[in-house]
């Protein structure tokens, strides 16, 4: 975490330097503990605040996409709406079903939120700003992410309600189906960087050729990998159009239907934290993490954490845009899309990454580009054509009704 390249005067490193200054004042025996606490507290402040901002952004953005105003009563332009929502959630009655397994019912949202937070430990949110630089960081991220499924099932099962149990089954079926392509879509970035450490993956993309960054997005397998990752991340965080587990208009809240008050708010918080975390991983793997999008001094003087959060906000706005646009998929479409389209494409993408790696780069970079793009594009077209429903819709006739 402590890198020699710390530039003492730089705004970029102000938080890192502040942490070192604070650590220097603590006794040696307490330093590991103090280091952890100092790193974690800003995380616990910043990301829930981002959640609050996102809720109001989402409601206003969706409103505008439907030619409505969105919330505009609490505070200027309705910006204090999250505070009002939070107070409302806190003072509401906390109803626990009489037949529920009290302990599991209580721990489900807690574990959900905890798992969502733990994933942030390996995400570099700025230069030298990562809580732990694990050498298997990406693996850790996905391992922690699977705890979310456990807490979803805890919530559905412990409520002892058939609806929440069904909701949990649907949610888990979806999450497991999309976890596979999510992991496979991120494998190419790991292959290219040659490391599972998130910090190494970002560092591998931090250079520039001229002014163009070395982001993995700007390779054929990077574009495809990023697209697949984005789709799988949307499904993994239960966002529209893959929000079947909690489709508000049909099954209210799916697996957390038996929750109310602040526990309900915790589920929401955890969902959004999960969305931010997967977005942040997407940024880390394909969009160069905290690195500036162009290698010009105007861009590179901007502190790295600002670039990271700008990219994250871009992701959030994109998710809101998608939510305002697409209708919900059907369950069979959802599963068919995961297993028949995304999974083969992700596997092919891994193969293409290997091809990219071993094709000579120096004389014929454009040929390498064309070959890889063609190997990816042809099956994509073929798959999308063959998966198109050829079923003809006819007027239904009832033979025995007359």
């Amino acid at each position: 975490m402590i890198v020699a390249a710390v530039n003492a005067g730089s705004v970029d490193q102000v938080f890192v330097l502040a942490k070192h200054a604070l650590l220097a004042r603590t006794p040696d025996a307490l330093q590991p503990l103090a280091s952890a606490i100092i790193s974690i507290i800003p995380l616990l402040v910043v990301f829930p605040s981002l959640f609050a901002i996102t809720t109001v952004l989402e409601r206003k953005g969706l409103g505008r996409m439907q030619n409505r105003l969105g919330p505009n009563r609490v505070g200027p332009f309705g910006l204090l709406q999250p505070a009002a929502d939070g107070i409302k959630a806190l003072i509401k009655e906390d109803v626990v079903p009489a037949a529920a397994d009290q302990l599991v019912h209580f721990f489900a949202p807690v574990i959900f939120v905890a798992a969502a937070f733990v994933a942030y430990a390996v995400l570099p949110i700025g230069r030298n700003m990562v809580i732990v630089n694990l050498n298997a960081g990406v693996l850790f991220f996905f391992a922690v992410g699977s705890v979310v499924e456990l807490s979803v099932f805890m919530a559905g099962w412990s409520s002892r309600s058939k609806y929440s149990l069904l909701g949990a089954m649907r949610a888990i079926a979806q999450m497991i189906s999309y976890e596979v392509p999510l992991v496979l879509a991120s494998v190419p970035a790991i292959m290219q960087a040659g490391s599972l450490s998130t910090v190494d993956i970002v560092n591998a993309q931090a250079g520039y050729t001229g002014i163009w960054p070395h982001w993995y997005l700007f390779t054929p397998w990077g574009i495809v990998g990023f697209g697949l990752f984005l789709i799988a991340a949307t499904a993994e965080s239960n966002r529209s159009p893959f929000d079947l587990p909690e489709g508000e208009s049909e099954i209210i809240a799916g697996y957390f239907i038996e929750y109310s008050g602040f526990k309900f708010a915790l589920f929401f918080l955890a969902e959004y934290l999960g969305m931010f975390a997967t977005s942040a991983l997407g940024i880390t793997l394909f969009l160069g993490g905290w690195s500036a999008p162009l290698g010009i001094s105007l861009f590179t003087v901007v502190p790295s954490y600002i670039w990271f959060f700008a990219k994250l906000l871009g992701f959030i706005c994109f998710f809101i845009w998608i939510r305002g646009t697409l209708p919900r998929l059907r369950m069979d479409q959802l599963m068919g899309f995961a297993w028949k389209f995304i999974l083969p494409m992700a596997l092919l993408n891994i193969f293409v990454t290997g091809l990219w790696r071993f094709l000579p780069a120096s004389p014929l970079n454009s040929i390498r580009w064309i070959v890889c793009a063609a190997v990816l594009a042809a099956p994509c077209v073929v798959l999308s054509m063959s998966l198109k429903q050829k079923k003809k819709l006819l007027i239904r006739t009832y033979h025995f009704a007359e």
Binding site: G61, R64, M65, Q66, N67, R68, L69, W321, I322, G324, T325, L326, C380, V381, S384
Partner: protein
């Protein structure tokens, strides 16, 4: 090709998003407590009692015949008929409702009371913001709260109120003429007075709507 429909949709929502900041006619939202849409003339919600003249107590058209109370499907009207008679708007002694309560938490706004009233005494109101912190007493409207002037009726339902007024005036003129004719040859017998009182019922129901 896969994805073109998605792109079209994204373009559409983006256009909505940006144009909703530019063109005001895209936003159809009415900011309710501050802004209100003009009332549609046919609007109706709960019944009220019409009175003629300046004083609600003296000019009440209702004669406590209790037809509306009997006809009301959810039984939200409660009427107590008076023991004595009071002169009505044209000076004829009439019974009056000693109590006239409508529980608007029960009322289903069917307008049947209005249809059956032979005296044009009960009509539909348009006032809809009736919030109260007492859901029992606050939603039980007594005869004082229910009474609204004929001018108010004209204000909310001008066409209908004019039609009712014309019919009522014609009815009253006919009654006055009959009374004058009856009074001219010989002093009216008590039976004749009763008959003329019973014939007062009322206008042509069709045109009051």
């Amino acid at each position: 090709m896969i994805g073109t429909g998605i792109l079209k949709g994204l373009a559409e929502t983006a256009r909505n998003f940006f144009l909703s900041y530019v063109s005001k006619d895209r936003l159809t939202t009415v900011q309710y407590p501050e802004q209100r849409l003009p009332q549609i003339e046919a609007a109706r919600n709960f019944p009220f009692l019409v009175y003629d003249g300046a004083e609600w107590d003296a000019g009440m058209r209702c004669v406590a015949c209790q037809i509306c109370e009997k006809e009301c499907p959810p039984k939200c009207i409660f009427i107590e008929k008076s023991k004595d008679k009071k002169p009505d708007a044209v000076g004829k002694p009439q019974f009056y409702p000693a109590r006239f309560d409508i529980d608007i938490s029960v009322c289903m706004s069917c307008q049947i009371c209005v249809e059956v009233c032979p005296f044009d005494a009960i009509k539909m109101d348009v006032e809809f913001d009736l919030p109260t912190d007492d859901r029992f007493a606050g939603l039980m409207l007594d005869r004082h709260k229910l009474s609204k002037s004929n001018e108010y009726y004209h204000e909310i339902h001008p066409t209908e109120a004019t039609a009712v007024d014309t019919a009522l005036d014609a009815e009253r003129a006919k009654a006055a003429a009959a009374k004058a004719a009856a009074a001219a040859p010989k002093p009216a017998s008590p039976a004749a007075t009763a008959a003329s009182a019973a014939s007062t019922p009322k206008p042509t129901e069709g045109e009051s709507k």
